[in-house]
């Protein structure tokens, strides 16, 4: 389903899913959104995989494996995992005629096992405000993701304080302020060009003072190779923990789903400098597959916690490895 039709049919589809389950309305909607957001992904993959087959099935040989490799690499999963899946299929099916269903099942199982992660919801503080720090490279979607997180918490009846820690980029503070106003939460701002650590400090102080439930601290976008800026993240962490020793309780890395293999380097750099505890995979509503989380999952102990599937503040869904793998290769939809 194309994205623009989704906008108008949003209500209808989510209400249809409400009927299916008695779960909270917005959760259900985001569950549907995951599928819709990934619609393009699996459509693409599915047609691509389907292209490999004729009606009577296809012989698994060198040529076939090369074609399959191409399809897998195009998801951005990288050479390693694609190779692994191809080898598996090669050893299981070589010289046999196969049908799409068999191959898809194997790919799904393999991807599921590659991205399997323990069910890790956000860690909340036992008492007092939970501090969440959000980091990432420039333009990955940090600010929008923060707005979505805030919206989610507010819908859950929590009180949220935002810290506008991007004091570097022009109008970043304004951007977050507009979001704060839209979702209805308090925001602590600093001066343009000021010290982000001091903004983080006052945001946490404000959260303590007003006994808010959640404090989300924004940071300026930075490349993982900028050592001095990465050190700044450590400083922000240190300053935050001065008031609440175990804070930040979560440090979320926002990754752009369109990013390629450089996302691995991002995951490495940010987890080393900022001690990330999870990933938000943003911009999954395009044609990008976000397959790079597969090598990331393999190399680092970083669970994907949320996925971003649109520009609205409700377009955030909890990541579900099972569904992710299913949705990537869903056959039922056309």
């Amino acid at each position: 389903m194309a994205w623009f039709t989704r906008k108008t049919e949003d209500k209808a589809s989510s209400s249809a899913e409400q009927a299916a389950s008695a779960d909270a309305a917005n959760r259900q909607a985001s569950g549907g959104r995951l599928k819709q957001g990934l619609a393009k992904t699996w459509q693409f993959l599915n047609t691509d995989v389907r292209d490999l087959f004729k009606d009577e099935g296809r012989l698994v040989d060198e040529d076939f494996l090369r074609d399959l490799y191409a399809v897998l690499v195009k998801t951005d999963m990288g050479g390693g995992p694609a190779d692994r899946i191809c080898k598996r299929i090669g050893s299981d099916f070589r010289a046999r005629k196969v049908h799409m269903g068999d191959i898809l099942d194997v790919i799904k199982v393999e991807i599921k096992s590659l991205i399997a992660q323990p069910d890790e919801p956000l860690q909340f503080a036992a008492s007092g405000p939970t501090v969440i720090m959000v980091v990432g490279v420039n333009g990955s979607g940090k600010t929008t993701s923060i707005a979505k997180l805030a919206r989610r918490f507010i819908d859950d009846g929590k009180r949220v304080v935002l810290g506008a820690g991007d004091t570097f980029r022009a109008a970043a503070v304004e951007q977050l302020s507009i979001w704060a106003q839209r979702v209805g939460c308090e925001i602590v701002k600093g001066k343009q060009g000021g010290d982000p650590a001091s903004v983080a400090f006052s945001a946490v102080a404000r959260a303590l003072e007003t006994s808010a439930d959640i404090c989300i601290v924004d940071t300026a976008g930075r490349l993982q190779t900028q050592t001095n800026l990465m050190q700044q993240l450590e400083k922000i962490r240190r300053v935050i923990s001065k008031q609440i020793p175990e804070a930040p309780h979560e440090t979320l890395l926002v990754l752009d789903a369109t990013a390629g293999q450089n996302a691995i380097s991002q995951a490495r750099g940010f987890s080393e400098a900022a001690g990330c505890t999870g990933i938000i995979l943003a911009k999954l509503d395009g044609t990008a597959k976000g397959g790079v989380i597969i090598p990331i999952r393999q190399q680092f102990n970083l669970p994907v916690k949320f996925i971003g599937v649109g520009e609205k503040d409700t377009d955030l869904a909890i990541f579900d490895a099972e569904k992710f793998a299913e949705a990537m290769f869903d056959q039922s939809k056309k």
Binding site: A2, W3, F4, K40, A70, V73, K74, T75, D76, G78, G79, V137, N138, G139, S140, G141, F168, R169, A170, A171, A172, E174, Q175, S177, I178, W179, R182, L223, Q224, T225, Q226, T227, N228, D256, T258, A259, G260, Q261, N262, A263, S265, Q266, K283, D285, G286, T287, A288, K289, V292, E311
Partner: protein, 489 residues
């Protein structure tokens, strides 16, 4: 990375050394490795395949030159092909002489459009042309504000239509206004959009047809993966692009997506963005990018950066000193100071193609801080000491250390480093550009840019030792070739 690719190729081609021709069979391992490298650099897979076929075809049947190793030879072919694919050399954006030039900037969300608009405006303004920025991104909160601030920083007017909801109308009105004000160039900053969002893509087409821009530029994030093929194709189909700008290339992204974009759109790459500051926009050079995609350094960009960043006057002074054969600690200080701009050091090292141990070294040691300390020490010296560091005895050393707030042994280290560098710099004064670049490469391997470190001479690979049998065979082969050559004459 480049080295690892080259090492890998060397390994893969070991058996080939001294053998006649490159064939499909004996190149297989090497080509496989090359394919992997390109995939890891985020080159779109269809493009990788095309490229591999092309390289294979060209390399096939080529005689292995005795003077080159097969890996070097293949590498050479690969590099040439890459440069050709990425080329031609960027022609800067054409600005009409007596009429308004309209630039339209588009791309996905978060690719860096607004910042790039600011950089472009600055660049054009530097050419003494009047520029106007147009805030046509009505989608993202505070995008208008961001452009307004950028305009203020550069001193360029920004067209803002408060309350207007239709970007098409904003662009139309802005162009009218620009004509009235007689500016030379107007830059339209459009909202980020997904290539599959038909509604918004249609909106771009409407702007295109109503405003009729002279140049439509696509901004692509340097970290983009395989999806670059899809989005670039969609934008090109909707708008007929005139150029591409790739951003965020100041990190460790290899930027292979550029190859995909180039492949599907065929439009020239104009600029690359290499930082958050407004002057971090560089003209695109295919040879540098080819090196980057393969993981090698980009020496020409280094020279360019050094030339642009380094204070001309200070450079002139240092140059004069050097020409006179004087390399005092004062000269050393000016050289050091030029490297002090934050991040410059890292960028220069990246351009040089950082080797893994250099990276490690930098992570362990704060190079920029180290320079600051060195400048501090030189500042604490008397003019006489700066001219002639031999004067520095233990008591002077202690004084300097106290003055600069460092340990005395650091002062000795500095003097030692100066002693080592001065003959080199003096030597450099008498050299042409090419020789200097060679020397810079040498210094890179010997670790000169690591303040406080001792010179290390890296021992090169001595290669495999030939047995006397093999030596005799090679001798025979050479003589045979010589005879053949003679015969031909």
């Amino acid at each position: 990375m480049f080295e690892s690719l080259q090492d890998g190729l060397r390994g893969a081609f070991k058996t080939l050394r001294g053998k006649g021709k490159l064939t499909e069979a004996n190149m297989r391992d090497g080509l496989r490795l090359l394919e992997q490298t390109l995939v890891e650099a985020d080159v779109g897979y269809e493009v990788v395949r095309d490229f591999m076929d092309h390289v294979t075809e060209r390399a096939l049947g080529e005689k292995v030159l005795l003077s080159l190793n097969p890996d070097e030879q293949l590498m050479h072919i690969v590099y040439q092909e890459l440069v050709q694919l990425l080329g031609p050399e960027a022609s800067p954006i054409r600005i009409k002489k007596d009429a308004l030039t309209i630039l339209m900037v588009c791309g996905l969300q978060g690719s860096g459009k607004t910042t790039t608009c600011g950089k472009l405006a600055k660049l054009i303004e530097e050419e003494k042309k009047h520029t106007m920025l147009v805030a046509a991104d009505l989608q993202r909160p505070a995008a208008i504000e961001q452009l307004r601030v950028l305009g203020e920083q550069i001193g360029v007017p920004v067209y803002i239509a408060p309350g207007e909801m239709d970007p098409v109308k904003v662009c139309r009105d802005a162009v009218k206004e620009a004509r009235k004000q007689q500016v030379d160039v107007v830059i339209l900053d459009t909202a980020g959009r997904l290539a599959i969002d038909r509604e918004l893509m249609a909106q771009l087409q409407r702007i295109d047809s109503q405003v009729n821009p002279d140049q439509v530029v696509l901004v692509v994030d340097g970290m983009t993966g395989q999806d670059a093929v899809n989005s670039a194709r969609a934008f090109n189909e909707a708008l007929e692009l005139d150029g591409v700008i790739m951003t965020k290339l100041d990190g460790d992204a290899r930027g292979g997506a550029l190859l995909s974009v180039k492949h599907v759109t065929g439009v020239p790459v104009k600029f690359i963005g290499t930082g958050e500051h407004l002057d971090a926009l560089e003209l695109f050079r295919p040879d540098g990018m080819a090196g980057r995609i393969l993981g090698a350094g980009d020496l020409a960009a280094l020279v360019d950066l050094a030339r642009r960043k380094v204070d001309e006057e200070a450079q002139k002074k240092a140059q004069e000193d050097l020409e006179k054969g004087q390399f005092t600690l004062d000269t050393f200080k000016t050289v050091l100071k030029q490297f002090q701009e934050p991040g410059l050091m890292m960028r220069m090292l990246q351009l040089m193609g950082m080797t893994p141990d250099m990276k490690e070294m930098l992570e362990n040691e704060d190079a920029e801080g180290g320079m600051k300390r060195m400048v501090g020490m030189i500042d604490s010296m008397t003019p006489a000491e700066r001219r002639n560091p031999k004067l520095i005895d233990p008591s002077r050393r202690n004084r300097i250390a106290k003055g600069a707030g460092v340990q005395p042994h650091e002062v000795s280290g500095l003097v030692k480093q100066y002693d080592m560098m001065s003959p080199m710099f003096k030597h450099m004064a008498g050299m042409g550009v090419g020789d200097r670049m060679k020397l810079a490469k040498q210094m890179q391997t010997s670790g000169m840019l690591n303040p406080g470190a001792q010179f290390r001479m890296k021992k090169g690979d001595t290669g495999k030792r030939l047995t006397s049998d093999e030596r005799r065979q090679k001798q025979k082969l050479r003589e045979k070739l010589k005879r053949q050559k003679k015969k031909k004459r």
